[in-house]
């Protein structure tokens, strides 16, 4: 099912994100067990320094964050890490009703950043690749996010044997040569988003589960996975004109009242425009087209 994202709930201009939950609504009794929306904050790598300066963002970082920033060797890594920390702090602060400096992070057992237990149980996930930084936030359940350049970079072609199943490899190899790296990137982001939503990331081998119907309504078949996805795990793959492909996987909170699948509404947020009024390169990285599906 292809969706044009201008029909989804894109926050207009510099307005606040379209869906803002109060902490009580997130944490209290009656929390909806189905993730019905996912907020996707995006920031172009080219806008990071401008946004950082306008927000005076480093004043809100923890000592650990600043130390880690100085340890990164590559300038691009520092820039993307900085952008990711900004987007995460500011996006979550809006939902938590607090200041960015008051948002406290921990690492979960798999090493992925998570909110400190003193906060309401929002879930979020970060990704960054050349040119774009993203942060997905959901009110309940778990979310996984990945972004890659589109088509995949050439060196990724070396990895088809560890990323794709035999069936997926046949699908990719049957495509015209100039489309194969595009298909590889689409498989990659869906797989990484899915494994991140499970809380496993690369610990769940990418060639151990399969994506089918990738161009229509992608589904994931993972009968042997050690961690089972909750019923209704939603998948959305999105394309932007900046040459990126992104995928979001949303796993509903488990529970007896959990309904079956429902469409996940993706709210796109231009982080530079929303946080600082800066209309820069980020507009180009916002996806313009999406395809949704679910795990089977």
């Amino acid at each position: 099912m292809t969706i044009h994202l201008d029909r989804l709930e894109r926050p207009p201009g510099v307005a606040a994100p379209a869906a803002v939950l109060s902490p009580a609504a997130v944490a209290g009794a009656g929390t909806p067990s189905l993730t019905t929306w996912c907020e996707l904050w995006l920031l172009a790598e080219d806008d990071v320094e401008q946004v950082c300066e306008r927000l005076d963002a480093q004043r809100s970082f923890s000592t650990d964050e600043l130390v880690r920033l100085t340890r990164l060797v590559r300038p691009a890594s520092r820039r993307r890490h900085l952008g990711a920390r900004i987007v995460a702090r500011w996006a979550l602060a809006r939902h938590l009703g607090t200041t960015p400096a008051d948002v406290t992070f921990v690492r979960d057992p798999s090493g992925r950043p998570a909110l400190h237990p003193r906060h309401p149980p929002l879930d979020f996930n970060l990704t960054h690749t050349e040119g774009v930084i993203g942060c997905a936030v959901v009110p309940a359940g778990r979310v996984g996010l990945d972004a890659e350049t589109y088509p995949a970079r050439a060196e990724a072609a070396r990895l088809v044997d560890v990323v794709l199943t035999r069936g997926e490899r046949a699908t990719v190899e049957a495509a015209p040569p100039d489309r194969q790296l595009h298909l590889l990137a689409e498989h990659w982001v869906l797989k990484e988003a899915y494994t991140k939503a499970l809380g496993l990331g690369l610990r769940h081998p990418f060639d151990s589960f399969e994506i089918r119907d990738i161009g229509d309504a992608p589904t994931i078949h993972d009968p042997r996975g050690a961690v089972r996805p909750a019923p209704g795990l939603g998948l959305t793959v999105m394309h932007s004109r900046s040459g990126h492909v992104m995928a979001v996987a949303t796993q509903p909170a488990s529970g007896p009242a959990a309904p079956r699948a429902a469409p996940v509404r993706v709210h796109l947020v231009d982080a530079a425009l929303t946080l600082t009024g800066w209309s820069g390169a980020t507009a180009a990285v916002l996806p313009h087209r999406a395809v949704s599906g679910q795990a089977r």
């Binding site: 880690r68 340890r71 990164l72 060797v73 590559r74 890594s77 890490h81 090493g111 960054h128 690749t129 990945d146 890659e148 970079r153 060196e155 990724a156 070396r158 990895l159 560890v162 990323v163 990659w188 990484e192 990331g201 690369l202 610990r203 081998p205």
Partner: protein, 118 residues
């Protein structure tokens, strides 16, 4: 010493009692890992510190999988992405790979590795 020489177990590089020369081999494996990281980060190998945390290398998922593939091809042993990410530092990853390479070498002392030398 090259990794292939260590694995192939040429007499001059093996202990007199016939056991694999583990320390030189470990040095070679760690040296290979150091050069791999230096190449990927585009820095001189002498600037790579073995106490660096894997997370601080900021390898993206593609790079982690490339590392796993290169380990398989260059060192002729298997390692999973999860194992790589589970190591706290380059030193512990290097030590684990060295042990694995030594075990593989002990099992096939006369066999040359599949890959080119480091």
């Amino acid at each position: 010493m090259t990794i292939s020489a260590a694995i192939s177990g040429r007499p001059s590089e093996r202990a007199r009692d016939g056991e694999p020369a583990v320390q030189p081999l470990a040095d070679s494996v760690v040296g290979w890992l150091t050069r791999w990281v230096a190449d990927r980060l585009d820095i001189a190998a002498e600037h790579v510190q073995l106490d660096w945390e894997i997370a601080d290398l900021d390898l993206d998922s593609t790079e982690v999988l490339i590392l796993v593939t290169d380990v398989m091809h260059e060192l002729a042993v298997l390692v999973s992405p999860g194992e790589v990410l589970g190591h706290r530092s380059l030193a512990t990853l290097g030590a684990a790979l060295s042990e694995r390479v030594a075990s593989a070498a002990a099992l096939r002392p006369s066999r040359r590795p599949l890959s080119r030398t480091a």
